[in-house]
């Protein structure tokens, strides 16, 4: 068992508490988290990434309980073992493509994957020295995937990675996520309400607002 979440509960201030379904994943496996908007999908993703602390329950990745970790140790663990792809690419505008990926190595304190090779595989070999401001939406999203993969994490979390992409780019992005996760033996969790994604990943759990 690579990844497991149990009995997760969280309540936003002044709101009812949310209960989340348990998730269990082996290396290379992928899973969708479905749900209407406002149902708490993103909250679940934040809990799984250790960006929020759950009220109860635990998140275990490679025998470690994220929910019990704190401060710098948690940050470093996240940098090393969890790759996150956000809804928007959120690249650092002051840096070029390659430098954006190097930041992941620096803060994760890990050599990880060879950046040139990774960019080549994602079809971005020629863009390594470009400013991120010159990239198209699809390219930028692929760079953000490359950043999530740069440290060869054990868990890849993707938050609506395709919501602003066209059909062609959506397929590219999902295939990339799946093949790369399989290649480095990571568990992949995609939070989405995009039906185009469902065709590629059969496993899913659903988050329901109470």
């Amino acid at each position: 068992m690579l990844f497991e979440s149990r009995n997760l509960k969280y309540s936003h201030p002044g709101q009812q508490s949310l209960t989340f379904p348990d998730i269990t994943l082996h290396p290379g496996e992928s899973m969708l988290v479905l749900g209407k908007s406002g149902s708490g999908k993103t909250t679940l993703l934040n809990l799984l990434a250790g960006l929020l602390k759950p009220e109860t329950g635990e998140v275990r990745l490679a025998e470690q309980n994220l929910a019990a970790m704190k401060g710098q140790k948690l940050d470093l663990f996240r940098g090393k073992e969890i790759g996150i792809v956000f809804q928007k690419p959120h690249l650092l505008a002051a840096l070029n493509v390659k430098e954006n990926l190097q930041m992941a190595h620096f803060f994760g304190k890990k050599k990880g994957q060879n950046i040139e090779q990774l960019l080549e595989e994602l079809g971005l070999g020629k863009k390594a020295k470009s400013s991120v401001l010159t990239l198209s939406e699809g390219e930028a999203q692929r760079v953000s995937i490359a950043r999530a993969l740069a440290n060869s994490p054990k868990l890849i979390l993707a938050d609506e990675p395709t919501s602003s992409l066209d059909d062609e780019n959506t397929e590219k992005v999902i295939k990339l996520l799946k093949t790369q996760a399989a290649k480095i033996g990571a568990a992949l969790i995609i939070v989405t309400h995009d039906h185009r994604v469902k065709a590629h990943v059969p496993n899913f759990v659903e988050v329901k607002a109470l």
């Binding site: 090393k80 002051a94 620096f106």
Partner: protein, 421 residues
Amino acid sequence: MNLFKLSWKYLTFRPLSTGLNVFLLALGLAIITVLLLIQDQFEKKMNQDAAGIDLVVGAKGSPLQLILAGVYHIDFPTGNIPMDEAQKLSRNRLVKNIIPMALGDNYQGFRIVGTNYDYPALYGAKLQDGKLWEKPFEVVLGAEVAVKSGYQVGDEFLGSHGISVGSHEHDANKFIVVGLLERKGNVLDRLILTSVESIWYTHDEGGEVESSDSTANYEEHQAINLQESVAISGFPKSAESRDLTTLLIQYRNPMAAIQLPRLINSGTSMQAASPSFEMSRLFELLGVGITLLQGLAVVIIGISGLGIFIALYNSLKERKYDLAILRAIGASRGQLLLLIFLEGIMLTFLGAILGILLGHTFLWVIISQNEQGVVGSLQSWIFLKQELWIVVYALVVGVLASIIPAYAAYQTSIAKQLTKA
């Protein structure tokens, strides 16, 4: 990639805002640098030029003017004094040495000073070429004068009356250069030295045109013997009653400091002024202006600190996302704190370096505009220890300006930022 590089990338990503802040800070620091340099060198130079001169005696008038004219050769002389009265003074046992000086002529703004060998000896001057003057109209050039005029030993030139450029020339007698002095960085560099007799004889020629402040008197003079040797120490010999401009006096003992000035000021038609006393009075007067400039510099530095704070704070608003991303890829809160501090510190460090260079450049410009004044002998590329303090001040400004933005970065909640979209 590391935090330094990342900070640097963020700074260069906003070149205009960064540039403006660096420049503003540099301007404030440049003013302080110039003040530091001028104050330090000016006082040093003033003290150096006045070293060994205990008292200056001249015609009645402003004591400060007497010092400025007699010691530093920057103001107009107060007038003339009769030589027999001066000679009486030299017999006083409180006086160790007395150097007579006759002023009133210039060559292209460089003053021609009639004196004896004691005057160059007072400053430990050495000859670079030639010899000291021995006959009337022989002159020795200070280093600065030699460079500017290009004259060598053996060259001749005409002096002009008065002490500023543009007065009429004394065309009857030409001065002949017999020696050049080594550069010492003191007042002698800007002077042309000759004998008192040279000054007298120059003014004897065109008696009627002279104004009454010159060192000549207008009676019938005996024929001048140009081959006769001039006095190399003490007072020049003269059969008639002649005038001098100032006397530089060295005391024999400390008692003289108390008795001699009073004796001269009340008992003769001359006045005595002490260089150290008058200069400290001058610095006191200048001090108000210096304090004002310092205040201005502090205000500018304060504004630039505020500018840096606002720039960091604003860019932080745009960058909360970036910071959240950095946290998501493994950066700790401490690292983000450091990142913002580094930006502020780098910004102010650049400002400090630029400010110091700018300050020296300002001074260099000022100096090159005033080559014949006292300012002209200052050095623009001397670096002082106090300039390290300027760097320290700047870094303190940087740290102060970054505290609030850095704390805000420290407090940023990643989950909130990333899910806001």
